[in-house]
Every structure is written in C-alpha cells, then in structure tokens.
Symmetry: D2
Subunit: 133 residues, 4 copies
C-alpha cells in the first residue's frame, strides 16, 4: 500500500466517502484504488448499489489518480465524466481503480474501472483540470 499524502488528506475531507464507508487502498503515480461495501443506505429500487455510488467511487478513484500525478501545490477538478454501467452492483465489496491516461499541463485524461468481487461493473472515461490548491 502506497498513498500520496495530499490524496489521503483530501479523501479524509470527503464526507460522501465516509458516508459510503469507502476506503482509500492505494494512490500513487497516477493510479488509485478505492474500495467500499454496498451499504443499505446506497441502494437503488431493486436493492443493488445505486449508480450514484458506482459513479462516486469511480470518479473519486479517477480524480485521486490524477492528483497523485500532479505537482505539489496543485489539485484537480472533474470537468466531465462518462460512465458505462455494465452489470448490477451486487456482491460483497466494490473496487474502483482509477488511472491517468495522459497528464497535460492544462488537462488530465483519466479512466476508471469499477468491479464487485472481481466482476466488472462499470467503465469510466473523463477529463480533469489542474487548479492551484
């Protein structure tokens, strides 16, 4: 486990991650892993995890992947994100894995994959912008 200090600090301040009992597993060099249970408070109408949970974990993993690759004194904001929902979010533990595809000075391109117990559940592709912290 290796976690960038800025990511650790920022993650700790995201109340939604605490609400979802999400855990930061790894964040370094443009790669970030966040895991979470599918809590009773985060369900959709059939009892599966809500797409809002899937998105929140995937977007956060992508964002922290980007942050872990930024120069000191910078942070990142999500400009846009596209998510393909592939399978219902059901099972024990959700894993969101974010990756930097290209870190430019003005834009950072990211992807993320969300899985449950090893089965692929969603794929994300999006854009972040660096901003002064």
């Amino acid at each position: 486990m290796s976690i960038d200090a800025r990511v650790l600090d920022s993650f700790a301040r995201q109340s939604l991650m605490a609400t979802f009992e999400a855990r930061l597993e790894h964040a370094a060099d443009g790669l970030c892993r966040i895991s979470a249970p599918i809590l009773p408070l985060a369900r959709q109408q059939h009892g599966y995890g809500h797409a809002g949970l899937t998105f929140a974990l995937g977007d956060s993993a992508a964002g922290y992947a980007a942050l872990s690759a930024m120069d000191k004194g910078m942070e990142v904001l999500t400009v846009e994100m596209k998510i393909n929902l592939i399978a219902p979010l059901t099972g024990d533990r959700v894993l969101a894995e974010g990756r930097v595809v290209r870190a430019g000075r003005r834009l950072v391109i990211v992807t993320a994959e969300v899985s449950v117990d090893g089965r692929q559940a969603a794929l994300l592709q999006g854009t972040m912008i660096p901003v002064p912290a």
Copy 2:
C-alpha cells in the same frame, strides 16, 4: 405537481434518494424533477456537494423521466451517462430536471440539467434501456 405512480413507487425504494433527503417533485410524460438539499454527509473535500450527489440526482431524474414515458409493465436501466460539471454544487437546494429526448422500443435517449438556486451546475446526456418490470 403530477407524479407517475410507478415512479413514485420506485423512487420510494431507492435508499440513496432517502439518504440524500431527495424529493420527487414531478414525473409525467417524459419529464421528471427531483430536488435535494446539500447535506453535510454528501460533500467533497472543499465542502461543496460531491459529484456523486450531482450525478445521482441527474441520473435519477433522467431515469424517471424515461420511466414516466414507458408502457405499463416496463422499467428502465441506465446504460451510460455523460456528465459535464459546470459549477460547484453550493447553495441551498439542488434541482435535477430530466427529459426524454427520444423514446424508442429498444433505447431511450435522455438529458438532465442540475442547478442550484437557479444557477446551472451540470448537464447530463445518456441512454436507458427498457426492461420488463
């Protein structure tokens, strides 16, 4: 206020909407409005509403817009959704307004706009599929 009965029932079963204290304002004929406060439990690192909240409200409004336009005995699933985040989610009350652009037999194209206190905060465009309920 006009609310499709299936939408009302489905919305009531989404625990994430209850967690966010979201309120179904309108759902009929391919248009849906959901509003919510920005609760302390749904924040990102700067204290703004988390993108996961923005997405959850926008995706739900789009989905229920689609459901309100479906034949009886059908429901809808989100296939994919693209969100552009335009402004920080800060203020009193978030409004997500979903609309059906095109309701086909196999695919439903939807858009949603999320605003806070009248200021535009995000724009979504996506695809739903009808499935037997």
Copy 3:
C-alpha cells in the same frame, strides 16, 4: 444569416468540410449552423451517412459556436465530445446546430443537434478549451 469573420476564415481552411460540401449557414453569439448533403463518398455499409460525417458536422458546429463567443485573438480546441446517434442519416440535407451552454475562461461547454430534413439524428455534448490563435 450572420457569420463571425473568424469562423468564416477557419471554416474555409477545413478541407474536410469542403470534402463533405458542407456550408456554413450561421455563426454568431454562441450559435452555429452548418448544413451538408449526404454525399456518395461519406456513406456507411448500408448507404446511410457515416457516423463520422454526423460527428464531423456536429463537432464543427459546436466548435464554431464556441469560437463565435470567444474574445478576439483566441480560438478553441475540442477536448472531448459525446455523441448519441438517434436515427440513420438518410434524406436530403443534414443540419448541425451547435450551441454554447457555458463559456468560461478555461473551458467552454457546448451541445449540438444534428437533424436531416427536420428529423433529429444525433445529439452531442462536449467540452472545448480556448487557446491563443
């Protein structure tokens, strides 16, 4: 008909627009309209207009909508674009209508709608960045 001079000049230099015999119909104040026939050279396997044609017209209309809203000395680049293909591109004349949703200093959010003979064929939503010309 009102056409921003920078848009006119830039459009004239896009050889792909000439290849498609596309015509710039309007470009001012964040709105742009481009029309084109569906030439035999731009088809997919069933003889409909290729998605590459639909995308090229929609993306250009969105980009020139953005350019028409920029300060002098600036131009715009497409960062990302999402397209939903709604109906086959068949008929007489394609119309792509681009619109600025939000013009910020660092990012411009745009949408475009592509139609053929008045029927909706595609919907686009994307992001442009201003760059010095």
Copy 4:
C-alpha cells in the same frame, strides 16, 4: 493478419473508409485495427487531421471489433460514443484499435484508441447494439 469475413465485406461497402484510404488491418475475436494516412482532404483549419477523421476511424474500429465478436446473422450499430482528443492528428499514419469490453445479448461495450506513429491521439468509449443483419 486475421480478418472476419463479415467485417471485410461491410468495411468494403463503407465509402467513407475508401475516401479516407483507410485499410482494415485486423478484425477477429473482438479486436479490430484500421489504419489510414492523413489525406489533404481530411484536415482541420491548422492542417492537422480533422476530429471527424479521428472519430470515424475510432468508431469504425470499435464497431468492427464488436461485429467480429457477434453471432452469425447479426450486425451492430453505434448507439453512442465518447471521444477524448489527446493530441493533434499529425504524422504519417493513423492507427485505430477497437476492443470489445463486454459483449452482451442486448448491448456491446467497446473502447478504441487512436494513435499516430505510435503516439496516443484519442481515446473512445461507447455502446453498440446487435441487430439482425
């Protein structure tokens, strides 16, 4: 080189691919590669390849990746596609590589990467639907 017969036949009927002098390099088992030069007829205002060219190649590679994984008697249509443009399309030869992420009965999730002379130029993520041929 391995090319699925249906893909070969369909590709040959796409006049836009011929206009771009695109070449089908590989199409089998959910993977497709298409290459093309950046012809003078396919440029944007700075002389780079037009985003419409990038999209057409990426979308076609993704679509034929999907087709190569379909049962006999089926073909695929693009429902939606998201493209992130990463670098200007300049250089000798463009390569678009499409991949099936998940082939379901109702939906096929695909990605594609477009590069020029080995440098990454664009990333695509989208959805196809199988339809009877």
